[in-house]
Amino acid sequence: MTDANLLYTDVETALRESVRALLSDQCPAERVADCYDGDSALATRLWRPLAADLGLAGLLVPEERGGAGASAREAAVVLEELGRACAPVPFLTSAVIATRVLLGTVENGLLSQLAEGQRTAALAVPLATSPHEYSPTVQESGDGALTGQISGVAGALEADVLLVPARRGGELALHALDVDSVTVTPVVSLDMTRQLADLDLNGATGRRILNGGTETVLSQALELGTALLASEQLGLAQWCLDATVAYLGERIQFGRTVGGFQALKHRLADLYVRIEAARTAARYAAGTEADRDPDRHVAALMASTYCSETAVAAAEECVQLHGGIGMTWEHPAHLYLKRAQADQLALGSPQVIRRRLGDLVDLPMPTSS
């Protein structure tokens, strides 16, 4: 149960360096902030070099299905870097969740197109869906037409293909739809670096790609999402700590750097300790997932609850400890606070996740009191 390597391998470190180099060159914070002013040029420009040139879109796809045959460990390191840069790219939604869904089907053409970065997909469920509490809102009629609304979907605006779960009678099936056949309405989102969209299907038709076992495939894909979102939250929290430490080491008041005052340095020490525990959580989740360790379900939930709260705490401390500048549009702290808060609500809130974890480790919520 604790055999997972909780450190970073040399391969993972090399991958991190290449992702970081690309992001520091092409994803400056000022451009990220443009996402909030209706300019999504960065998102479009950034995805292709990451997905295709660095080959990140195919990390989780086995070589025999057209991918790089890497594991959750490498994908986790990529997410740490994306979190660190607050990068507005659909890696989590397309290269992790939608890819994991397709890996549970016999669909090879679309999978290899995703892996090569030629197309991008999104699973059409609300971003706030927790892996164990999904209920479909789209119905399939007798002639295969799909009708219904799905609100708050992440990755849909960047996607060419939507993977839509739909109910027909008592059974859930999965359909792949061209995005053009669905009405996709952008949502003004708390986090515009992962902007949501509302989907309206009014008799749209696609291809059925999965019949039986759809629930299982969806919950596995969403669970992988929670396990790896933790690494994005870790990277985000680390950026917040690093930026705050750097600033408090320079900012002078009362004739001293303010980082020398215990009221502030103790808060940063606590945050450091918390982020190191988050790193343990994120590495354990990625490692057990990569090893198919039976403890991976517990690991995913632990990482999800701990890293999401740590990221929010780090971003809140970052804003507060920067003082006035932390409240401005000009300073990037707000980008991280918005992303951290949205990430915390994504794929199940910490409280919902902890309740589920209680069931897994035989510490159940009492049914009545």
């Binding site: 080491g249 340095k265 919520m365």
Partner: protein, 397 residues
């Protein structure tokens, strides 16, 4: 055969040879432990001739495993933790060959228990302020002063002592480090009763206690450096051992929740799970720390782990009282006792709650640990130190 395999094969043959000549079923416990020490199987990372074989520390677990499978006795490491974890590494690093040969063997076998004479009423977090004076009288030092929070002092044969030998220089430069004979007539040990009712610790009064100069560790005036070696080892020891999931405080509370449906209330569930997650991550962080050490990447996580341990043991023991409700109002026993061993997870919920209060004070307060992390790990500006360059005798006390 890889190096690893050949080391293991060699260790196995040494263990077999030890067991052949000293059958654990028919050998006296102490005799067995002495033979184990002499075979270099006590702590394999120590040098040959001092109970070791000069191997990596990680090989010891294999030896321990083989010996325990053969039913061999152990040296009751919890009872002699201060000797093993603090005195021994310091003697190894700073002791003369004679000191090493005199002290390490009976220390390891448990024949001689050790205690630590560092903290004083006026020197807690500011340990370098120690005021216990050692004055040289020919080949002997005459020691006067008071030490406090000394666990095992009433059982100890020896104490590692930090004392002021030169009051005219700044505080860090005027201390020396000694091995104090706890049976000297100038040493008086009195129990120090604490909030739990028992006296796990002692006060030690030193009145004209005599220490031969041959029992000084390190040079005169070098006491602070030697003491830091001791304290570094204390932190390694705290982060040191692997334990299964739900070890310690959280295991007790989890078991209460499972075994006693009547105490389960929905209001407590989220807090229980938060603490469960944090405890499990603290445990896994210990694994990660050991992986880092094994990969040759020593890190500063030790201080952080102690902070977390202290906070969690306090929060969980507090929650346990709440879970128990009315039952938490009863306390097992306020009688003054002097336990040889302290079990932080033993006795009743009230005891654990009270004892856990010490976790954020002993071995470096949580506030001092935060300073250490902020300054040494994060590189923030150090605390102002007005007394750093003043002669010790001029510092207000």
């Amino acid at each position: 055969m890889t190096t690893e395999e050949s080391v293991r094969a060699d260790l196995k043959s040494r263990v077999t040879a030890l067991l052949d000549t000293h059958d654990p079923r028919s050998t006296d416990r102490l005799e067995f432990l002495r033979a184990q020490f002499d075979a270099g199987l006590a702590w394999v990372h120590y040098p040959e001739g001092l109970g070791g074989l000069g191997l990596a520390r990680s090989h010891q677990s294999y030896v321990t495993e083989l010996l325990s499978a053969a039913g061999a006795p152990d040296n009751n490491p919890r009872r002699i933790g201060i000797g093993l974890g603090m005195a021994a590494p310091t003697i190894l690093a700073y002791g003369t060959a004679e000191q090493q040969h005199r002290f390490l063997r009976p220390l390891w076998t448990g024949e001689e228990v050790w205690c630590q004479l560092f903290s004083e009423p006026g020197a807690g977090s500011d340990l370098a302020a120690v005021a216990t004076r050692a004055v040289r009288d020919g080949d002997t030092w005459i020691v006067n002063g008071q030490k406090v929070w000394t666990s095992q002092a009433h059982l100890a044969r020896w104490g590692i002592l930090l004392a002021r030998t030169d009051p005219d220089v700044p505080k860090h430069r005027g201390m020396s480090y000694f091995i104090c004979d706890m049976q000297d007539p100038g040493v008086e040990v009195r129990p120090l009763r604490q909030i739990t009712g028992e006296a796990e610790f002692n006060e030690v009064f030193l009145s004209e206690a005599r220490i031969p100069d041959t029992q000084r560790l390190g040079a005169e005036g070098e006491g602070w450096r030697v003491a830091n070696a001791t304290l570094m080892n204390e932190r390694v020891a705290i982060g040191g051992n692997a334990a299964p999931r739900e070890s310690g405080m959280i295991g007790i509370t989890a078991q209460t929740w499972r075994d006693r449906p009547e105490v389960r209330r929905p209001e407590y569930h989220d807090q229980l799970m938060s603490l469960w997650v944090e405890s499990e991550l603290a445990r896994l962080s210990g694994t990660r720390l050991r992986q880092k050490l094994a990969a040759g990447q020593p890190g500063p996580e030790g201080s952080g782990m102690k902070l977390t341990f202290a906070r969690l043991s306090q929060q969980i023991s507090g929650m346990q009282l709440q879970l128990l409700g009315g039952e938490g109002l009863r306390y097992s026993d306020w009688t003054m006792t002097r336990p040889d061993l302290v079990d932080m997870t033993g006795r009743d919920a009230g005891y654990r709650y009270l004892r856990a209060k010490g976790n954020s004070i002993e071995g470096g307060t949580s506030e001092i640990l935060r300073n250490i992390i902020a300054e040494r790990v994060l590189g923030l500006e150090p605390e102002p130190r007005f007394d750093k360059d003043q002669p010790w005798k001029d510092i207000p006390r």
